[in-house]
Symmetry: C2
Subunit: 223 residues, 2 copies
């Protein structure tokens, strides 16, 4: 069974929500038959400038911004996640491109976790090539390959395709989870809800509705 | 809605079955909302040698081989598909790797159709780098990029992952279709069956089971 998760690297609820999902998955009986695919979602697609999160929040919410991120920080820490409110925010397109490379290399999960932890837990940047190479290498990617991908426009199409699919599915916020191509879960839901969603999606998995009439197998084709 | 199709390039029933599916899809009211993804399935994974199909069939089936491929040819032609029985058969790993590249470039469908037509309709090889570059370029891929991918081991993991997913789903033959992650159809079924499967899969599409509580949107995060 496949689970697709749309998230953005600078989205606190994605950091928290994916960690909750992973805990639910770790306790799921059929976890070894679950493939998790991370999909790209840029909350601020054209963004190229970097700024401190507190300044960004104040610009956006004015007086209401005070303490906003602290509340999220408290909640995150309560769930065992390191969280710093003195981090910066910037564009995530390059980070998303690297996540597509990471998927091909079989380390997508590791790279995403490392990016989330570096960004939220260590207030590190994900917004320059240097910073991204560092984080990606820590998670097992090859430095030269990461540089090559960053220098080229590689995986841009893949990022855009993920974004288009999110709109097609009606997701306008992240995190957004789709289990087995059918069950959608939106937001950083409680672990118990993810556990239940996994059970439900598993319960009616693909069935073959039509048996093979004309097909080829390793030992030959029907004729 | 996504439709995944596992096939091999040298499998006659894949050539015919995917064409039938495409006709059904062309007549499907929601065709613009259907994403087709082609998945790799190597019928003969270790194969490196190339030989004429008639010789291969005789080695496999003895006297029974006579006329076997002619019957398939007749059926294919009856459905408007060019089909030559004097083609060769060989390993398809490199062709499958190129189909993964083609997916990233947004021309997977075009490259698959071109490969099928070149192989079955024109008895062309898909088994050397030169032949593959030619066919891939005809379908819109860039020659230099194709050569680079062929020279490297790129997309090998993606081919293996497709193959593993096929076994996990219980598919031991191709073509194999999975509609919306749930409805499996095995073999070159009649167009009408594909049409019906599309309707059925569409009828109960993903629903969001849980609304967003804590999520981030373009205009900000809940707190």
């Amino acid at each position: 069974m496949r689970v697709e998760i749309w998230s953005d690297l600078v989205c606190p609820w994605c950091y928290i929500g994916t960690a909750r999902f992973e805990r639910a998955l770790a306790g799921f009986a059929h976890r070894d038959d679950v493939e998790v695919v991370h999909r790209s979602f840029e909350l601020d697609p054209g963004r190229s400038h970097t700024e401190p999160v507190p300044a960004m929040l104040t610009a956006k919410y004015g007086a209401r911004a005070a303490g906003m991120d602290d509340q999220v920080a408290e909640l995150a820490r309560g769930e065992g996640l390191a969280y710093r409110t003195d981090r910066e925010v910037g564009g995530t397109l390059d980070a998303h491109r690297l996540l597509h490379l990471a998927r091909e290399r079989g380390v997508q999960h590791e790279v995403l976790r490392r990016m989330f932890e570096a960004h939220f837990g260590e207030a590190r940047s994900l917004f320059t090539a240097e910073a991204l190479v560092e984080v990606a290498v820590e998670a097992g990617l090859d430095a030269d390959e990461v540089k090559r991908v960053l220098d080229s426009g590689e995986y841009l199409d893949a990022v855009r395709a993920d974004q288009r699919e999110a709109s097609r599915l009606g997701a306008n916020g992240v995190p957004f989870f789709v289990l087995d191509g059918r069950y959608g879960v939106s937001g950083a839901q409680p672990e118990e809800l993810f556990a239940k969603a996994l059970e439900t999606a598993w319960a009616d998995r693909p069935v073959t509705v039509a048996d093979d009439v004309d097909a080829c197998r390793a030992d030959g084709c029907s004729a």
